[in-house]
Point group: C3
Chain length 267, copies 3
């Protein structure tokens, strides 16, 4: 198991080019609070979001989507059923699905559902340090969606979780670590202003899902999603005064950033 290495921007450029060519249709089963920003982040970056939430439709749509996201932020029983059906249909159709285990470890209802989902072969898991530690079985208690520990403290948990589930695990904070349990990329572009805008983490999970679609090397694809959010976040921070203007600037940056700019190392 090797030490974390900073992700080369050439990989981000290559994966971003691939994403925009593919324009993947991402089936989002996410929480009530962040649906608009999540859809807008995908549209800006170059993917197509679709929220199909009913038990009557979730299976059929997951099977024709390019990727699926499950985010348990505002879980309740009817949505839980639709999520389970979407995951099973995605697996049957070979569609990769990503888990965002919001507040896992804090409340038992969602924690139990997340443990169940871990057995169903997620392609990727994106969480904050508290959530990843909780999923890995470390004793830890978070505080809602806010993490109470840093991402480096959770690296060991992320690696264990990746080896156990087969998923790429991304644990995000000021530095993100993305691991398959053996190799680990670091993406050092996080900024604290991100924590003052609701949904930036949840939307990143949707980007992770989008990048898993058709990925040749899933570890690189997930890391590229994290890097893209971080790089655009830094641009947006430089162009804004506070969290309100930051959000608009983040969407603009995701839309405007080109693979060519990344390759010219203008970042």
């Amino acid at each position: 198991m090797s030490e974390p290495v900073t992700l080369p921007v050439s990989i981000v450029a290559w994966e971003l080019k691939r994403l925009r060519k593919l324009n993947p249709l991402v089936h989002l089963l996410t929480n009530e609070v962040v649906q608009e920003i999540t859809a807008n982040v995908l549209l800006a970056a170059g993917a197509s979001p679709a929220m199909i939430v009913a038990e009557e439709e979730a299976s059929d749509f997951a099977a024709i989507a390019s990727a699926v996201l499950i985010n348990v932020g505002t879980l309740y029983p009817a949505r839980e059923t639709a999520m389970r059906q979407a995951v099973l249909a995605a697996n049957a159709a070979g569609v990769p699905w990503t888990l965002d285990p919001v507040a896992a470890g804090v409340l038992e209802y969602r924690s139990a559902f997340c443990r169940e989902l871990l057995e169903l072969q997620p392609a990727a898991i994106r969480g904050n340090p508290s959530e990843i530690r909780a999923l890995a079985g470390f004793s830890d208690a978070g505080r809602g969606v806010d993490s109470t520990s840093g991402s480096n403290e959770a690296l060991d948990a992320a690696q264990q979780l990746a080896r156990r589930t087969g998923a790429i695990v991304a644990v995000t904070g000021e530095i993100d670590y993305i691991t398959d349990g053996e190799q680990t990329w670091a993406t050092p572009w996080g900024h604290p202003i991100m924590t003052r805008v609701v949904g930036t983490g949840c939307a990143l999970s949707a980007l992770v899902a989008a990048f898993t679609a058709g990925a040749a090397k899933r570890l690189d694809a997930v890391a590229a999603a994290c890097a893209l959010a971080g790089i655009c976040g830094q641009r947006a921070q430089a162009a804004s005064k506070g969290p309100g203007s930051f959000k608009a600037a983040l969407l603009d940056a995701l839309y405007l950033l080109t693979p060519e700019e990344l390759l010219e190392e203008k970042i």
Copy 2:
């Protein structure tokens, strides 16, 4: 049946003035993703949105509203029941209701519900070409909310659907066509950036519903809603850098545009 004719801006000006004087109360039963932008578009333009979603209240409120919108984007059974009750109450009270058939033709659950609603005398239907073709019974398959054909290819379907249901049908894209089955207006102000901001189409359907309230000539009213969105979208596009700044600029433009400006042909 006459050829499409570009809508004169004098009609947009007259209808906008009428909307702002009336300040219609619009009962919105729309999808989970776009509720905030939909409400903000109506508030900016000069209408009053209200989301009343429970079966316990939907009938009572639809009957006192000025107009009702039904958007099936994130349909599920409890919401479906509330929508059906709102439509029946609206019809009984003479309140016009508008249908946005999101992703009709892609998934059978919502397609069946849309077919049922078509029998209940919608005042207007606003959709993308794939959705309108599906409702009209043309064999076609969309891709979630994104259309796979252009609006001119769907004009024939829109005209047939209008004649069959009695609704004004608006099929929107870079050029919008608005038809009662005989006369057809074209509004040529669409811009591709609109497709990178979630909810612009759904919010346009809410504007359509708002303009149907108290309309003397419903065809003109629906066309004016489409034109207003397009004209403000062009202004917003000119004032913004990407989809994040575009959304704020669109709301500002809807708020700032006056009937007088339109009449002076400053657009």
Copy 3:
């Protein structure tokens, strides 16, 4: 019972400093439309929002939160059950909870639920004049979330409601009145543009809830929340062109305003 007195900004400064030090975890059970702006207002101001909505989790989370908000804007039975459980758990744990009685008096289902909640010792109630008059039992009829009377006409109702329930009652408009039934603060910083952005009132109720956490003098805390929204709203209005840019500017202003600026009377 004394006449309303304008709240000194020194109290706003002191309460804002206290809020940011405490960074309260606020459990939000609010309506579907405004969840994102509500969360963003709290994050910008210095509190931590969390939406935990299922019956399976609402009690447990309310008991560990610093404050709870109940907003009945898009009430339906499952959410009503979760709200009732959260209120009971909050009361058992000594956690203050705040009521936003959206459209009370207009529709009987939500009005009955609000009357039930009034018996469960709310710490604070924030509403528009029509809503406060309806809760106080005055004959009045609103129009959805828009008020049909001014805040000064509702002052008597607010004072009666405060004495009857023991809650601090805030009735908001161009001038806000905040009362415990004996003493009344006025905060004169409201601006009509606020009414063109959905969720500004609902987000203010969430700020009220945040300020009740750990408050030594609850009347001052609730008044400070109203003043903070008004002062930042005035700054945002000066920095924006319409409701789209206003919303971003409001979040920026909430993030950037410091207690020190307030004390230097730069407002």
